[in-house]
Subunit: 342 residues, 2 copies
Amino acid sequence: MNLKELSAKLNLSQTTVSRALNGYPEVKEETRRRVLDAAERYNYLPNARAKGLATGRSHAIGHVIPISSKHEMVNPIFGDFIAGAGETYSKCGYEMLISVVEDDQAEEAYRSLKRRAVVDGVIVHGPRKDDPRIPLLQDLDLPFVVHGRASGLALDYSWLDVNNRRSFQRATEFLLDLGHRRIALLNGLEAMDFASRRRAGYERALADRGINPDPGLEISGEMTEAMGYRGALDLLDRAMPPTAFLVSSMISALGVRRALEDRGLRMGADVSVITHDDALSYFTTGADVPLFTSTRSSVRDAGRQVAQMLIDGINTPDAPPQQVLLEAELMVGRSTGPAPTD
Amino acid sequence: MNLKELSAKLNLSQTTVSRALNGYPEVKEETRRRVLDAAERYNYLPNARAKGLATGRSHAIGHVIPISSKHEMVNPIFGDFIAGAGETYSKCGYEMLISVVEDDQAEEAYRSLKRRAVVDGVIVHGPRKDDPRIPLLQDLDLPFVVHGRASGLALDYSWLDVNNRRSFQRATEFLLDLGHRRIALLNGLEAMDFASRRRAGYERALADRGINPDPGLEISGEMTEAMGYRGALDLLDRAMPPTAFLVSSMISALGVRRALEDRGLRMGADVSVITHDDALSYFTTGADVPLFTSTRSSVRDAGRQVAQMLIDGINTPDAPPQQVLLEAELMVGRSTGPAPTD
DNA sequence: CTGTCATCTCAAAGCGTTTTCAAATCTGCC
DNA sequence: GGCAGATTTGAAAACGCTTTGAGATGACAG
């Protein structure tokens, strides 16, 4: 059933039917009812391709993600973010389009999405320092919102980020207050913007207490379980092992916990651990005291908000870019305690 | 730059240019070269909407997922599956479209995708017993492939599944051979088809050894970390606790491990654990002996294959449905050992 | 030189919408 | 009854592509 057939059944022109369906004011209320009823009865929905061609809008948002997990995209966080964004999309009548591309093809993918007019806008994941995608997208004139930020760019664009610097600074201060002095940092890849911000917060907190950050205590890499495990083992086996770990992801923190276990150390007593917790839906441990002390910020909620920002931006093209900075909350769990006195 | 402008620049008709670009034979080789060069130079790519309207194909595949994680969709597995499917899509020039919908709106979502002609086919996730989506999709005449199977349906459709029954049967036998007699099963929601198949395999192995399955040792629920933790604690605190756990997901297995730790039990010595491992990319622990003994099957690879099956099916509409049954491999890790003699 | 065939090219008709511009119909008022 | 103005409707032109059916052109044989 298409518009032509529907209008034939109604003895109306396609124009009138289209208007009635799209809520234009110049159609008699009775006619509109008749049209709406018929559409319902005959199960009519407008062909999205034709509509898109006519309106110049695709009502779709693109997410370009590199195929490898090198840049931490295809990871547990991604699923939750997508779920949040997807909620907003379906609420607003948008489709979500995901493009999985070779690592070096991301920019080409944006170009292609724009030129083929496949999407009305895109969301940028995992920004790096001076991320080239941002000037590219501005250049392409393709609306976008960044999940995170790219320091080093003097451009005005829309983003939503967690205050990573502040949250890791607070977490570090919390550990310092507990008496810890040798605090290790297991961070994401240094190229990732959030990682460098977290490190800045960590080092700032140490500096404020007159402690010189020890580069030997800072590890950065892809945030897998294995990275947490290996990194922690490595540090624990040194002459002066850290008494606390600040870990950038829950997954890696699980690796750290495994390492502690291997070495017969009790988490929260012998060694303290704070992790960043993205509040992943399948990892929440219910109502009791959480396993890990963590800096907490829902990535699903971030997805919802970022999507909404983008849709708003698409609907009001002349509005200035929006920036949102979320504060992570420090949740005290069972993985932290006073530094052991030795 | 659109086709009209491009053909104007070339002094050719749109017809010829279109044919040249799409590799039709009836255009002179020299002309084709000229067209291809110009397309390259002017950065021309055909408008996807217009192309779709003209050809009746959207070159997009839909994935409908319920908003909640109740049906275990928005979970770590999903990300990896999507990554695999996405690889195939971009290789074959398809877009991946993800629709996040309210739990009870999935069927309406399929209807809408079909009627609006948004996608050329869909992939069905997390089939349940007698899953109503399958007859619906057949009815809608929308090509689809199921990741998993739905027992109870006497329909012929395309699916790809892991041999869940066999893999859990083997895992159970492995535990039995190690001398375990009280083996707990921490399974996914009973409504999920894979969960009932796994249970069947487990009970079959027990029955083959003359052991009556104890319903008290079987727990099913959403496969979160908390579920593993709570379930294990509950079982461990009984009068006759199990000496081994068979767990349906890595995430829940991590919960089980936490419970063992809480009770001062050593995994692999006091209590054995086997889990199903979807070989998630960010969970691989490298080259050494894996932490968990597991039944292993790459969900990413499944994504790749399912996507390919669907695309093949779309391209040859008259071909019969395809079925693929993958065998999971039993990887012996450090979480299993002989049953303690008491 | 003509006719035949193969090769190459094109104008125009779709595909299913929206939207512009014009026309028809109604309303109230003199 | 006629007319201005408001209200409703409709025919047709876009949107950017593919594809049909037919027309040029050139080569070659008779």
